[in-house]
């Protein structure tokens, strides 16, 4: 280490930026870093993998069915129709991750809007909205999911909407509690005294102050949405074959669990990696964004 770099390291910045401290705290969180790398790996593999892989995920090759992984030209083997497992995992990753992200965006948007309106206005409006949230929350989400999925034709879009419809309530409650606490703070009263319209107070003054828990909820919601998509696809109500998703690949693998276990292990591992990755990321963000930890 050169003397120059040692001295800059020893001198703390006069006004350390909050973002900088947050990033450092996040980097110290080892599991969060691992989670981020895992997610990055899955996203990159799903996005660019199909261009690097010579095999098509829909190409049926009955002659080479049930090839074990690492035993031939197919890196991760083939399934019961001789389709390349790697290609299918990558394509399925696109579907599963897309559904996860899109459902997260939808559920966060819906939950935030309902939560902020309920928390800001309070009174009858707030009570009505929150009781509605409580009512929806009473349904077991898997049951709700399957009931909805049974009636609606499963496409990428409808499945995303159905998953979001079972995930927005917790966000709404979280945001409502935050906003209710924030709206009595001096700066919110000051904004009212300045004649700020309600939407300005809600979305420009209050929401940025509640962003940290929303971001954490968002990452955890991605994990949850991926898991839910796997559930319903596994049960056959989700993404329909031949389009692969991690969930319906597992569904396919049921019959060959003993003869070709890699058909189950590979998509299962992908789901596990994605879900734990996002959960670790969420935990790391929760710590990094918590201002009370700034003192350390």
């Amino acid at each position: 280490m050169t003397p120059a770099s040692a001295s800059t390291e020893a001198l703390p910045l006069a006004t350390p930026r909050r973002a900088g401290r947050g990033v450092r705290r996040f980097a110290r969180h080892r599991l969060a870093l691992i989670g981020t790398c895992t997610i990055l790996f899955l996203v990159l593999a799903s996005a660019f993998g199909p261009y690097l892989n010579p095999y098509d995920d829909l190409h049926i090759d009955i002659v080479h069915r049930f090839t074990a992984p690492f035993s031939g030209p197919h890196l991760l083997g083939t399934d019961q129709l001789g389709r390349d497992m790697l290609a299918r995992l990558e394509k399925a990753g696109r579907i599963s991750l897309t559904v996860g992200f899109a459902a997260m965006v939808l559920s966060i948007a819906a939950g935030t809007v309902i939560g902020v309106v309920a928390g800001y206005y309070g009174g009858i409006v707030g009570a009505a909205l929150m009781r509605f949230v409580d009512a929806v929350l009473c349904f077991p989400s898997i049951f709700l999911l399957l009931a909805l999925a049974a009636f609606i034709e499963p496409t990428l879009l409808t499945i995303t909407i159905i998953i979001a419809a079972t995930a927005w309530m917790e966000v709404a409650r979280l945001v409502e509690a935050q906003i209710r606490a924030l709206r009595d703070r001096d700066f919110a009263v000051a904004a009212m005294a300045l004649g700020a319209p309600d939407h300005v107070i809600m979305f420009r003054e209050l929401i940025p102050n509640a962003l940290a828990p929303i971001v954490v909820a968002a990452t955890l919601n991605v994990a949850r949405a991926i898991l839910l998509e796997s559930y319903i696809s596994f049960l056959g109500y989700g993404i329909q074959p031949p389009i692969p998703s991690w969930g319906n690949m597992l569904n396919n693998a049921q019959d060959y669990l003993v003869t070709a276990p890699w058909l189950a292990i590979l998509p299962g591992a992908a789901i596990t990696l994605a879900v734990t990755g996002f959960n670790f990321l969420g935990d790391g963000l929760r710590d990094a964004l918590d201002p009370r930890l700034d003192i350390r």
């Binding site: 000051a190 005294a193 300045l194 004649g195 700020a196 420009r204």
Partner: protein
């Protein structure tokens, strides 16, 4: 002063309906505020001065919890007289921050911690005038300069936690002045600041008032600050005006025993070795006000049968000196304060 009042508050009443009964916080407060004038509302904690200002801004809690009566007429240069207390909410919102602005006691918590100063100053300009963001930010820079924040352009992108207390209050003033209000309500704007910074902020407010001609309603419990700032003073006690007079008159010849007690409880250099005088007793619980003069239980001149039967009227000692005391003409001022002569 011949100027027509910009703000005419009459018989303002604020009641809070709490679980433990009705609490009258403000009981028939009336005053006028002329263009360019500074009127000081003085009183102890709980005397109703802050509630008065919040009621004028219509920022008190909503109907079942809090009821507001009376009127507060705003006579703006550009428009007909409007009663702030009965105006539809949408019109009231246009007035807040643009015609009547307010600055608060605690600059540290009155600024949004996650928005830059530039955004916070530009915001009211944007929604009151529809100015585009870039123009509003240039205006914000000019305002920061106006309130004496050095290096205004760089400060636009600062967050509140990067500023000192005095700087934050300057920024609050910049936000309040963004739309050139006719009336500025300052609710103890210097209480949270160091004495030296306090003097700078008062100086700044006076200077800005001279420049813009706005009327200033200055709420404080600090008589030293009143002496610095006010043209006229209203002394409030238990939700009522108990004395109202021009600054000099009030300080030289207070008529109400309460005002006299307040003035005598200010520490002085000349009486350095004497114990500090204090008014005995406490402010009455607003939910259980005494039946007569609310100050009577603490007043050394209170007379049984006169002071504790009915609330005294606000009487005119001189045309511009009002006092709420049945015995005011029986008391004369001596070196030791008010003394009963009869």
């Amino acid at each position: 002063m011949t100027a027509a009042p910009v703000l005419d508050v009459s018989d303002l009443r604020v009641r809070f309906n709490t679980d433990s009964g009705v609490v009258p916080a403000v009981n028939g407060v009336s005053f006028t505020l002329a263009r360019g004038e500074t009127l000081s509302l003085v009183g102890e904690s709980g005397s109703g001065k802050s509630v008065t200002s919040l009621a004028i801004m219509r920022l008190t809690p909503t109907a079942p919890i809090c009821e507001v009566g009376g009127s507060a007429i705003l006579r703006d240069a550009d428009g007909p007289p409007r009663n702030l207390l009965t105006l539809p909410e949408a019109e009231m919102r246009e007035i807040r921050g643009s015609r009547v602005a307010m600055i608060f006691q605690e600059p540290a918590t009155s600024l949004n911690p996650v928005l830059t100063l530039g955004e916070q100053i530009a915001e009211p300009i944007r929604y009151h005038r529809g100015t585009p963001r870039a123009t509003a930010l240039r205006e914000a820079e000019r305002l920061l300069d106006l309130v004496g924040i050095p290096d205004a352009r760089r400060r636009l992108s600062s967050y509140p936690h990067q500023l000192s207390g005095g700087m934050r209050q300057r920024a609050m003033i910049a936000i309040a002045l963004a739309c050139e209000p006719a009336v500025l309500i300052a609710d103890e704007p210097t209480t949270a600041l160091d004495v030296t910074v306090q003097a700078q902020i008062l100086e700044l407010l006076r200077e800005l008032q001279a420049r813009t001609g706005m009327a200033l309603l200055f709420i404080t419990h600090n008589l030293g600050v009143v002496a610095e700032m006010a043209d006229r003073v209203i002394v409030m006690y238990a939700g009522r005006v108990v004395e109202q007079a021009p600054l000099q008159t009030l300080f030289r010849r207070p008529l109400m025993p309460y005002t006299d007690g307040l003035l005598r409880s200010v520490p002085r250099l000349s009486s350095l070795h004497e114990p500090l005088e204090a008014i005995p007793g406490n402010v009455p619980d607003p939910a259980h006000l005494p039946s007569g003069c609310s100050f009577a239980p603490r007043c050394e001149h209170a007379e049984a049968g006169r002071c504790d039967t009915a609330v005294p009227e606000l009487q005119s000692a001189t045309p511009d000196h009002l006092v709420r005391c049945v015995r005011w003409h029986e008391l004369t001022r001596t070196a030791d304060g008010l003394l009963a002569t009869q």
